[in-house]
């Protein structure tokens, strides 16, 4: 019953919002740069092959970027777990990386790596890196005091402590970081494409082509698809990691 209500309420809000949007558009009270839901829908029916053609490489690059960032974030977090003094430096470096304007970084990377998937993957990785790193480090370093004392009492080695206590304890926060990072990877890939980092194919390329060609419905369609993919990334990551949460989730 409660689950049903959890689904019904957002659905109702969504439908009402669409209806308001559509009627505002029909009444002419929205600027010409805003497409109506009906226009976006018919654009989807007409152009779904083109949309898939452009979305596929974006998705694949987002996935690679996400995985590369996860590997880097967990690797760094493990280094911090074994050498806690490194914590501050790693944090500082990560904040700097997370603050770099990605839109300016893309042209620089294009000169370095040449136009193509590598740039898109790199930007997707940078865009999704920070929440994963924070989740992993916080998870690894915040162990309950009693459990930490237990391992000290048992003269556990640092290796045993990390492997048998810190890593399992880190799972919930690390997973929260992964979930938050999923949408970031997709947005990062789109930013790279948008600023010309990956050639002719890509959702971001399609978006900028539509935008500069004054194709209002197609622009809005690409925006809608981006939103759906980002939400989808969140749910896919949640679904995959739910196994880990069930195994290591805390009492």
């Amino acid at each position: 019953m409660k689950r049903l209500r959890d689904l019904v309420l957002p659905a109702v809000v969504f439908v009402v919002a669409i209806a308001v949007w559509q009627s505002a558009h029909s009444a002419g009270s929205l600027p010409r740069s805003v497409a109506s839901p009906a226009q976006i829908y018919s654009e989807l029916l007409d152009r779904h092959e083109l949309l898939w053609f452009h979305s596929r490489p974006t998705l694949i690059s987002s996935l690679w970027g996400f995985l590369a960032a996860a590997a880097a974030a967990f690797g760094l977090a493990l280094i911090v777990a074994f050498a806690p003094k490194m914590g501050r430096s790693v944090y500082a470096a990560a904040v700097v990386v997370a603050s770099v304007p990605l839109i300016a970084l893309t042209p620089i990377l294009v000169l370095w790596l040449e136009r193509g998937s590598a740039v898109r993957i790199t930007i997707a990785a940078i865009a999704s890196f920070f929440p994963m790193l924070i989740g992993a480090i916080e998870g690894l370093t915040h162990v309950s005091k009693d459990r930490a004392e237990l391992f000290e009492l048992l003269s556990a080695s640092r290796w045993q402590r990390v492997m048998r206590l810190q890593m399992p304890s880190a799972v919930p926060l690390a997973v929260a970081g992964l979930r938050a990072a999923g949408a970031g990877a997709i947005l990062g890939a789109i930013i790279a494409e948008w600023s010309g980092g990956s050639g002719a194919r890509g959702l971001g390329t399609l978006m900028s082509t539509a935008l500069f060609g004054f194709n209002v419905p197609l622009t809005w369609l690409t925006i809608a698809v981006t939103v759906v993919l980002s939400i989808g990334a969140y749910f896919v990551v949640s679904l995959i990691t739910s196994v880990a949460i069930r195994r290591f989730g805390h009492v």
């Binding site: 009693d146 237990l150 009492l153 048998r164 290591f248 009492v251």
Partner: protein, 269 residues
């Protein structure tokens, strides 16, 4: 009333716990807090002592000094004639934490096995068999359960079994039943006595319950707060094995009243 200077008749007996002139200070300078001040007491080999006192009296700190989780600012602690650090490195100290400190991702049996794994002993040559321990603490049938599936009392049973799996020389218990309801608590008190008498280990219990201290211990060490000093050491002359029936006797009430007097002193008059 009995006095605190029992250690004047220091026995040369090697076993048991000897705490001599222990001071514990946290912090430095003006911010320093003296948690324990000139604390001395002995626990006989195979004996059962209880530490009781108001919060801030340093009773948990005292337990951590015996466990070598903290080192005293001054004074000495020995267990069976050896330094706590030596005992800890040999993993001969059992500790039961207030909030069980079980690993939630491990089953009951894997939680109990943890000390064996950390000391790289194979389950086959552990000093007290895991399955015997599970029987001893009454958890048969729950071997595969996760801590989340157990009641508070059962979690503490697992914690006790884990503390005993390496057959420790001392068993230290830090308010292990503090979060439990009175009925579960009394039942576990009796179980703890049975387990303690079957293993023959020396036990020190930190508690804030007068009746728990009187029911379990041979001797109750009463501490005062800020700084933690020994107010009294009160022997419990009740026969063993102890029963809940004894809690109704005049003897028991005499002990409880002596504890109350030591704790509250003039405030009672």
């Amino acid at each position: 009333m009995m006095t605190a200077d029992r250690h004047d008749t220091h026995d040369t007996h090697e076993g048991g716990i000897h705490v001599k002139d222990v001071c514990m200070r946290f912090g430095k300078g003006a911010d320093a807090v003296i948690a324990l001040d000139e604390v001395s007491f002995d626990v006989a080999d195979g004996g059962f002592a209880a530490l009781i006192g108001p919060s801030g009296c340093g009773k948990s700190t005292m337990l951590r000094l015996i466990a070598d989780l903290l080192q005293p600012t001054k004074g000495s602690v020995t267990v069976g004639g050896r330094a706590p650090s030596e005992l800890r490195s040999q993993r001969r100290i059992g500790f039961v934490f207030q909030d069980h400190a079980l690993l939630p991702w491990r089953s009951v049996v894997d939680n109990i096995r943890l000390p064996l794994q950390l000391s790289r002993q194979r389950s086959s040559d552990n000093r007290a068999g895991v399955s015997d321990l599970i029987k001893l603490v009454g958890l048969e049938g729950f071997e595969a359960a996760r801590p989340a599936e157990l009641s508070g009392g059962m979690r503490q049973r697992v914690a006790i079994a884990r503390a005993l799996v390496l057959a420790p020389e001392v068993l230290l218990l830090d308010e292990p039943f503090g979060a439990l309801d009175e009925i579960t608590r009394q039942r576990l008190n009796l179980e703890l006595l049975r387990i303690w008498s079957e293993t023959g280990t020396t036990a020190v219990l930190v508690t804030h319950s007068l009746s728990e201290a009187a029911l379990l211990a041979d001797e109750v060490i009463v501490l005062s707060a800020r700084p933690g000093r020994i107010q009294a050491c009160i022997k419990v002359p009740l026969q063993r094995p102890r029963t809940l029936e004894q809690m109704k006797t005049a003897e028991f009430h005499t002990v409880e009243n002596a504890l109350r007097e030591a704790l509250f002193g003039e405030a009672l008059q």
